[in-house]
Symmetry: C2
Subunit: 205 residues, 2 copies
Amino acid sequence: MDITVRPAFDSELPTVAALLSEAFATDPAAHRIVGVRPREQTRTALEDLLEPLIRLYYFPDGEVDVAVAADGEVVGAALWDRPGSSLGLRAQLAMAPSVVGVLGRRLAKTAIQSFRVQAYHPKFPHWYLFMIGARPEAQGAGVGSALLRHGLDRAGDEAAYLEASTPESAALYQRMGFVPLGLTPLPADDDDPELAMWRPGAMPT
Amino acid sequence: MDITVRPAFDSELPTVAALLSEAFATDPAAHRIVGVRPREQTRTALEDLLEPLIRLYYFPDGEVDVAVAADGEVVGAALWDRPGSSLGLRAQLAMAPSVVGVLGRRLAKTAIQSFRVQAYHPKFPHWYLFMIGARPEAQGAGVGSALLRHGLDRAGDEAAYLEASTPESAALYQRMGFVPLGLTPLPADDDDPELAMWRPGAMPT
């Protein structure tokens, strides 16, 4: 498949939210955020959260990359936090209605869990790969690798960090230069832990 | 030089404290701990702090490695924290008189700075190389490499972490499998920052 990676246009943000919600609808991480729900409900809840998060935070203050096939269709997307950036108060307030609408009483639990995992991010400046996903029909066609390579090229001499949720993705990330840091803690014992990984930046001169 | 690395005997702990104090007497890190003093005062102050720290913490709860020359002389030493270990309250209380005696009013500043640097340690389990040094006459003879290799062999599949205070030592650590994490913050702007480095553990299976 002939894939081009470029920044998303404003008009593509709903497509990005829909694509990533579809890709993560059966992911354990999604269930930890929105609660265990049937697949279609999980997908809808994720989309209701992701749409404002992308529009209010990742598009203006982070990076929203799309992988585009030769016919122009968006077949994959990735969301990156820039080094040192974090969801500002204004975006949090603007997102609050969506968050409460989707999460309701899970809000506190999700916030606590988000804080716990954040505490495991290395304190050193790094790019953070928050989400990456491909359309089901484009999976295995190198979409993930192309998106990742684009993000790492942009990071250049700067470090990058992510949490791998499956052994297969961890192996891909390792081939792209990531090394393991350790397993992230999870709220429930029956969840599979995620592997935190680090792509080192350049040695300082 | 024919070097053997092994755990220190109880009777060698004063030698280890003296050797490391000598090796660090002109190190910026020593001045940050005990204040800028003439070389001999720095060495003495370091030794007064290190002796109880090694006896009460590193010997029972960490690892005290010595590099021994063919004639039996201790020519280098390294202090490691085991994964998950930290200076317990009992050892802190036992050390308090020495700390106050040496540091006096610098105590609060040193404690705060220690806390700040600790916050930069990755939260994932790791061995921490607290100090490593060689006798002046044995430097450049592979003592540091031998001590480091011994510690990394013991760490095995587990990760290791350290802060490199010079570009030369950072280059040595890189050859031994460490990757850069980033520069640690320092209290004073005119200090050279240290480079935090990570030797990844094995990928989880």
